[in-house]
Amino acid sequence: MAISVDSPETSRGLMQQQGYTFTFLSDPNAETIRRYDLVHAGQGEGGHDIARPAEFLVDSTGTVRWIHLTENYWVRARAEEVLEVSKLLK
């Protein structure tokens, strides 16, 4: 699931444009982002708080099994890495 401060309409536009089929969730006030301690203050347009990039793999009991917090926001988790790590969920 992809989570950001974008509104549902913005996410739907992105999904249609790029052909994404996974779930996009909207956290416009960054409440969940704050609970996960991922707030990047003032980085959005107009000085809004946004999320810093981060990936969490959560198993069926709700326990975090893998996290990916990069040192540079241009760097993201690679698909092969995520697929490899998702094997932890057997």
């Binding site: 989570i3 401060v5 779930t23 996960y36 301690d37 810093r52 959560v58």
Partner: protein, 147 residues
């Protein structure tokens, strides 16, 4: 007789094209996205060309060529420096996020709206069967937004 200072202009053009090529091309491949070695190589070529162009202008007798060459070279260097700054310094300005859930901890539950306006809760998602089988887990991808 005036010769066209092609290294100068090619160097400048290359620096600008290389800058935008990161966002247009190289960002789509993790290998060149996570460390922009392709752009660094191209910037190096651009810098060499700019230097050659600058040197060529300064061996001529025309003062105007020297001023123009110095200006174009400076612009090219600014473009390169801006990219380097944005990537290696700007990209690293990230909060510590030491309070983020660690491996072994419970992921905080949340209820958010999906792109169709429906409410989605993490705990519900983890316990609702998909096509008859229980989900093995969920991947949460937090991103900056404003796309």
């Amino acid at each position: 007789m005036r010769r066209f200072n092609w290294p100068l202009w090619l160097g400048f053009l290359l620096s600008v094209v290389t800058f935008f090529s990161y966002f247009a091309v190289f960002i789509w491949y993790p290998v060149t996205r996570d460390f922009p070695w392709a752009n660094l190589l191209l910037f190096l070529v651009a810098a060499v060309l700019l230097f050659l162009g600058l040197r060529r202008a300064f061996t001529s007798d025309r003062r105007r060529s020297k001023i123009l060459a110095a200006f174009v070279t400076t612009l090219g260097v600014v473009v390169i420096a801006f990219f380097l700054f944005a990537f290696f310094i700007g990209g690293r300005q990230l909060p510590a996020s030491s309070g983020a859930p660690q491996v072994g901890q419970k992921a905080p539950d949340f209820t958010l709206t999906d792109a169709d306006g429906k409410s989605v809760s993490l705990n519900e998602l983890l316990s609702t069967p998909v096509n008859g089988t229980a989900p093995k887990g969920v991947l949460l991808v937090f991103y900056r937004g404003y796309w």
